[in-house]
């Protein structure tokens, strides 16, 4: 029979819908992924009261922007890395490979899934923050434009990093630690929960190598008043640098991630 097989995108989207539903049923994972960032934000936002220097910007607003950035990375990096390592170790990938489901469908599904997760997490953070901290969302469309591209570039860069780490993790059950450990450390050296320039100098340099620091900075530039820019390492938002660093991570992640994933697939089917 030569009936046309369904489209790659259609299959990927259908699978993503199922993955989202299945994820929503896994309550511990849901609490860990969605509730934990919010709880941490409330804790740190309450812990560090007052304002940043003489900028007049409340400390908790800085925490909010950082947590938005880290929620994006948690969804994209964590979702991708954990998903890929699990799919390979629990038989999902083989089961899918035995059907007309394609590798591009697989990535469509993963992208839609982490995108939905990121949108849900960021929305949850923003809603809570408006309700609890009385955070005022910016009204200027230009700021939402910045928000949009930092969100998009941040997702792409950290998702591809997730492909790399998820392909390196050999066992899905132990992958949790491999994925969470560096991510938690990264949050503390990237200025997510407190002002980045409050870190020792050398730690700032370490943090600045990784994408999360730049995502948090980009989010501050989108969500917080320009008066705060003086508290950044360069004394300005450095939006151009944010875009360049995140793009570099995206390109590097794509090159390394696809090479490592291809090797993993070859190994799995050799």
């Amino acid at each position: 029979m030569t009936t046309a097989v369904p489209s790659s995108v259609g299959m990927g989207v259908a699978r993503a819908a199922g993955e989202i539903r299945a994820f929503a049923r896994n309550v511990p994972a849901l609490v860990f992924n969605v509730a934990l960032p919010i709880v941490l934000m409330l804790m740190f936002g309450t812990l560090f009261s007052g304002t940043v220097g003489d900028t007049g910007v409340p400390m908790h607003d800085v925490v909010v922007s950082g947590v938005v950035a880290s929620a994006i990375m948690s969804a994209a990096f964590g979702g991708m890395a954990f998903g890929i390592s699990m799919d390979f170790s629990d038989g999902t990938f083989t089961r899918l490979s035995a059907t007309p489901f394609t590798l591009s469908s697989y990535f469509v599904a993963k992208i839609v899934f982490v995108l939905a997760l990121a949108v849900a997490q960021v929305a949850a953070v923003l809603v809570v923050t408006v309700l609890v901290f009385g955070f005022v969302l910016p009204g200027d469309p230009a700021r939402w434009l910045t928000f949009g591209w930092v969100f998009a570039l941040g997702i792409v860069a950290t998702a591809l990093l997730g492909v790399l780490v998820g392909s390196l993790a050999s066992d899905g059950r132990s992958a949790g630690g491999v994925i969470q450990f560096p991510f938690i450390v990264l949050q503390f050296i990237s200025g997510v929960y407190f002002v980045f320039t409050g870190l020792p100098n050398w730690l700032q340099y370490v943090g600045a190598v990784f994408p999360l620091k730049w995502m948090a900075q980009g989010m501050r530039s989108a969500l917080l008043p320009d008066a705060l820019a003086v508290a950044e390492p360069a004394g300005s938002w450095e939006r151009g640098t944010v875009a360049i660093v995140l793009s570099c991570w995206a390109v590097g992640g794509f090159v390394l991630g696809s090479a490592v994933l291809r090797a993993k697939i070859r190994r799995a089917f050799s």
Partner: protein, 279 residues
Amino acid sequence: MSWVVEVEGLVKRYGRKTAVDGVSFRIAPGEVFGLLGPNGAGKTTIVQILAGLRQRGSGQVSVLGRDPAKPRRAWRDRIGVVPQSTNDHADWRVGELVGLFGRFFADPLPVSEALAQVGLADEHDQLVRKLSGGQRRRLDVAIGVVGRPELLFLDEPTTGFDPEARREFWRFVRELSGRGTAILLTTHYLDEAEQLADRVCVLDRGVIRQLATPAELGAHRDDAVVSWTGPAGPEQVRTDDVNAVLRGLVDRFGWQVQDLQVRRLSLEERYLDLIGRSS
């Protein structure tokens, strides 16, 4: 005649270990072909190679007219694979999962029909992780047949089945094959191979020991057993020539041979014989 599967001189090595060592066989349309053998015989490796999930070392392989090492979507649309049991998709619902896999195929079965065929009609809304071992296995089969395959690979399909479920499953496999689906079944249950397979290929350490119908399996050896009770207690011999043995017994004991029995080796005895592990 066009064969559904043609395998010629198939070899597969993992490092220095040879998993499949020069295997050849062919499967006809609608045939149920059993791969029987102990763990490590190479059954799963052969299935994975034929299903396009593993690269072969050497040899010629054709599945539905194509080389499975270069699988295409249109080819995958015509085969179904039930891999060995796994615990994937635990947070999915049964109907949801079968429905999704159906979407990958050009002409899928309706979900309700796929579930009904394997006796899971009532579990449509159940979470996969709440299924029993046997139900989980039947779900695997439903996923394997939802695309109406011409060729179905069943890798140890009845693991975890109770006797009734196994019988039910056998009925289903016969129905499927009656409708023209060719089936490659691996199993280490002899009764399963005997019940289902048109031909059985006995594998041991990567080599075919015999390829025959279940009735013929092991038939070329001394497959009759004559037993009796002599002065020193029960005795038995295996022979090709029952008459000669009986004549010998009559010479020794006259016509009063105690507890005389003549029987054919059971399938299990013939099988253990074949793979060199006598019972």
